[in-house]
Amino acid sequence: MDFFIELFTNPVGFYNQHELLIAQIGINAILAIAIFVTFYSGQLTLANAGFMAIGAYTTVIMSLYLPTPLPVNMLVGALLAGLVSVIVGLPVLRLRGVFLAIATIGFVEALRLGVILNVPITGEGQGLHNPTADPLGGIVPILISLPILAYLVWRLTKTRLGQAWSAIREDELAASSNGINVPLYKMIAFIVSAVLAGYAGALETHINFFVDPTEYGITRTIQILTFAVVGGTTNVFGPIVGAVFLTALPEIVRQFAAYRDVVNGVILILVIIFRPQGIVGRGGLAIIRPRWWIRWRARERPAAAH
């Protein structure tokens, strides 16, 4: 609880003390936005850790061997992730549900084990040392990017493209009958998600001195998945809330920090069974809607209650 006390009574001091945590929260939030985009279009793709890896490694490798400035490296990393997503997506996006999930996990692991661990330039098992890392300065681009990206994705969901994604999510076959080119729009969602994940990966290398191949495996992907599940996927703020909550949780509840994964697991199960729409359910921040609230609203609008 002292966590919150500090947060509210001494925000500046809090900031200085917890900079790395805030930076990590920011990055996780961007990753959450990435997985939101694919979820919003109805696709359970678990490839984000792989695209993160592409963004991260590209940035650092370019920093090590090329004179290009850092922002350029990061951009290239993100775009390369987007490019790879096209190659991966073409065969894979035809699959549905569980099969899509498995195929994307397969991609991530194949990338990690097959490519990263075997190509000398990536430093193989040892990872890479990042010379341009700037843990304290690195937080600034994160804090700037996050709201911009959140805003852009939010607006995106309101456009014709976003509505098409909603349609695909609700019923792919009906969406086709309404003239929506389902394979194309799914691919677009996948690419956007990959670029965002790549960007997040690039950002993350900026605050770490080290690029570690074990970071980009299945565990990471599942972690990102939990942000989305716990936060809720009806709008873009859900996964962001989930990311903030779950990343900060071990800090808030220090004594359980060691059992963080147990807590995560329990939260995941409880949420998926009892509140599958997540923290940010439909229509805003509804943490808990007690029964009397629902009944009261139903009474207000009798026509709505059927």
């Binding site: 498995i102 397969g106 194949a110 097959g114 697991g265």
Partner: protein, 304 residues
């Protein structure tokens, strides 16, 4: 080379045993139980715990561990699966809730060091251990230039016997028929008077017992027991196997298991150890893209 093929068969048996449990649940319940790999790990951990921390001889320890794993299967059904079925939740939810359970299982073992809450179960935290030598008799046989370890031979025999027994039960007993009926058409099975909930529970028990046993055999054969053996060693390989063989097909899982063992060994011989792991996933990827139903699976089509 032939020595390597032998290794492929041994490891393939373990993959097959693990995958059979996986595919059994998917075939009957239409659910991918991602806690299966955690149960695999717990089979090894519990046996290790009973032998090393509590001094039981190996055989009773293994039997107890297998039964406990079966009970964990029931836990998975009652905690992670049944509540979702009652709420008509979409299939993805079951995926997520089993992931949650897997997280919990692994974390409990990971955190178990001397003096902590679960130190009666495990004391080595995140480290990897092995069964002390002599836990099981391990004579070495030499046959025409090949070296065959007793344990590995035992593993092969146990796996094959189990798979034959399972095959017999499924094909020739009334319970096996009921299982196949539920897998094929839940509604028709209900109308025949089959208690589908009970079948689900039995399937989870059986599947998890098999998974736990596979873990024990793995711990013996590879001399590696840690909280991560499920996740790192078999989780994705198990997926690759059942996709390869066809999800829901038991013969497919068996065949796929040996096939994967073979592919891995060949890749190892040809390219070295680093590529070996990636090969499994490359295979998975290719199968999903070219022939999603695997070798023996049925085609999936949606009704308009």
């Amino acid at each position: 080379m032939t020595q390597q093929v032998l290794n492929a068969i041994f490891i393939g048996s373990i993959y097959a045993l693990f995958a059979v449990g996986y595919t059994l649940v998917f075939g009957v319940l239409d659910v991918l139980n991602l806690a299966h790999s955690a149960v695999f790990m717990l089979g090894a951990v519990i046996t290790y715990s009973l032998v090393v921390l509590h001094g039981l001889p190996f055989l009773p320890a293994a039997i107890i561990a297998v039964l406990v794993c079966g009970l964990l299967g029931l836990l998975i059904e009652f905690v992670a699966l049944r509540p979702l079925r009652r709420r008509n939740a979409p299939p993805i939810s079951a995926l997520i809730s089993t992931i949650g359970l897997a997280l919990i299982f692994v974390a409990i073992v990971e955190q178990a060091t001397p003096g902590t809450l679960f130190s009666w179960l495990w004391q080595d935290g995140a480290n990897s251990v092995r069964f002390p030598s002599g836990t099981v008799p391990n004579p070495t046989y030499h046959l025409g230039g090949l070296t065959i370890e007793g344990t590995k031979l035992g593993i092969l025999i146990i796996s094959v016997v189990l798979m034959l027994v399972l095959g017999y039960v499924i094909r020739f007993t009334q319970v096996g028929r009921a299982l196949r009926a539920v897998a094929e058409n839940r509604r028709a099975a209900t109308l025949l008077g089959i208690n589908v909930d009970r079948i689900f529970a039995s399937t989870l028990f059986l599947s998890s017992a098999l998974g736990g046993l596979a873990g024990i055999l793995f711990g013996l054969a590879i001399s590696d027991i840690s909280p991560y053996i499920g996740r790192d060693q078999v989780e994705l390989k198990g997926l690759a196997v059942i996709v390869l063989g066809g999800m829901g097909s038991i013969p497919g899982a068996v065949l796929g298991g040996y096939l994967l063992g073979l592919i891995e060994v060949l890749a190892f011989v040809r390219f070295g150890s680093n590529v070996e792991a990636g090969v499994a996933f490359a295979a998975l990827f290719l199968v999903l893209v070219l022939r999603p139903q695997g070798l023996f699976g049925a085609r999936l089509r949606e009704r308009l």
